[in-house]
Point group: C2
Chain length 222, copies 2
């Protein structure tokens, strides 16, 4: 009937914590090291030993925290997705004309997606999705669907404010983000190293602006 935790130690409800306490910082350090290895050289090319070395930790400790290599990978993906979630939650675009807001959103989106780490993360995640579909959905929920939802909401508010005239804002959001990425999305994934490309990319600015132009030509009120 009583709580199992309190039942373990008879008198108090505070666990004694006998022996050397677990270093709570290590798990996060391991996850960061794992992310670095996994999303730079790939799952198969990453060794637990190198991850442990990077984390400044013994290999056994890695296995103590994470049962297997695949579990560690899944945890690393989860960690990365959590970071992404937080980064995208500060995405409150308000103020300025609707054109300014849309361009701002588009440029932020491009800047976010075109980062080296994001490109590599996407690449190495996509292959592993093939025999672990869950991590794909994890990413979709943390990133793309979240972005799409944010843009849809932005459009909804603009419609409510009478700045836009859209019947299907979800469809409109999909179109806009699609245009913002454009053909450059493929160059990003298959082209020369991203790190060699200029940030910010002048071509990106042009693409985003003309996308918003096209978008507003149909949905804008003025």
């Amino acid at each position: 009937m009583s709580d199992s935790k309190t039942a373990k130690t008879k008198p108090a409800n505070v666990i004694k914590a006998l022996g050397r306490p677990v270093d709570t910082t290590k798990s996060a350090t391991i996850l960061n090291a794992a992310s670095h290895e996994f999303f730079n050289v790939g799952f198969a090319q990453s060794s637990i030993e190198s991850i442990a070395a990077r984390a400044g930790v013994s290999k056994v400790t890695v296995y103590n925290r994470f049962k297997t290599k695949e579990a560690l990978f899944a945890a690393a993906v989860g960690n990365e997705c959590a970071v992404m979630r937080q980064a995208l939650s500060v995405e409150a675009t308000s103020g300025g004309t609707i054109r300014e807001r849309l361009v701002h959103f588009g440029m932020e989106m491009v800047a976010f997606l075109w980062r080296d780490e994001m490109v590599r993360f996407e690449r190495h995640l996509a292959v592993e999705v093939e025999h672990n579909p869950e991590i794909g959905l994890l990413f979709l929920d943390a990133g793309p669907r979240r972005l799409h939802q944010a843009l849809s909401q932005l459009l909804d508010e603009a419609v409510a404010d009478g700045e836009l005239e859209i019947d299907d804002t979800e469809q409109a959001a999909e179109h806009l983000s699609g245009m913002v990425k454009g053909m450059a999305d493929l160059e990003r994934r298959f082209g020369a190293n991203i790190s060699m490309a200029k940030i910010p990319d002048p071509k990106a600015a042009k693409r985003v602006n003309s996308a918003v132009d096209l978008f507003l030509k149909s949905y804008g009120k003025c």
Copy 2:
């Protein structure tokens, strides 16, 4: 001064072909088997032995034709790109209204990209691009850039015929193809198995049609 090949065999310009002749069909068989393995389970997970077994060939024969595993991979990519090239060269969309032509192009593009093999090919290619940028460009030239060029040309002709009014057809083509892919492109890469999705996808048809609608609302003349 003389041709090096004729200089090798003194009298004739026809090589004798001594000994057992090379089975010219084997290289193609090996490449197909390699493609199957590489783009289904990945480069690192593929073994030369299993590729040879699938091709019904000895491992030594594989090494006789292709110097190393990476060379075999590059050759497999090249082969796949050649196939893609040929598939895309039959892309002569003509006849019907401009709307019909654009919708047709969009649907063909979706059907092409959403195939299982294409999805897996893209996934496994993207990771290998990281330490072999050449194969990425190979793919870009055989696929995406080719498609983009075809669409741009289609738009150019429509402009010449007075059906459309566009100042930058390349930019317009990028926007249109971007909209056609939309958010679904991410679901395609990171979502559940494609083979479970219906072909043709009713959502895709809706997306393509509304994309063309938006496109024509700005660039159309009527």
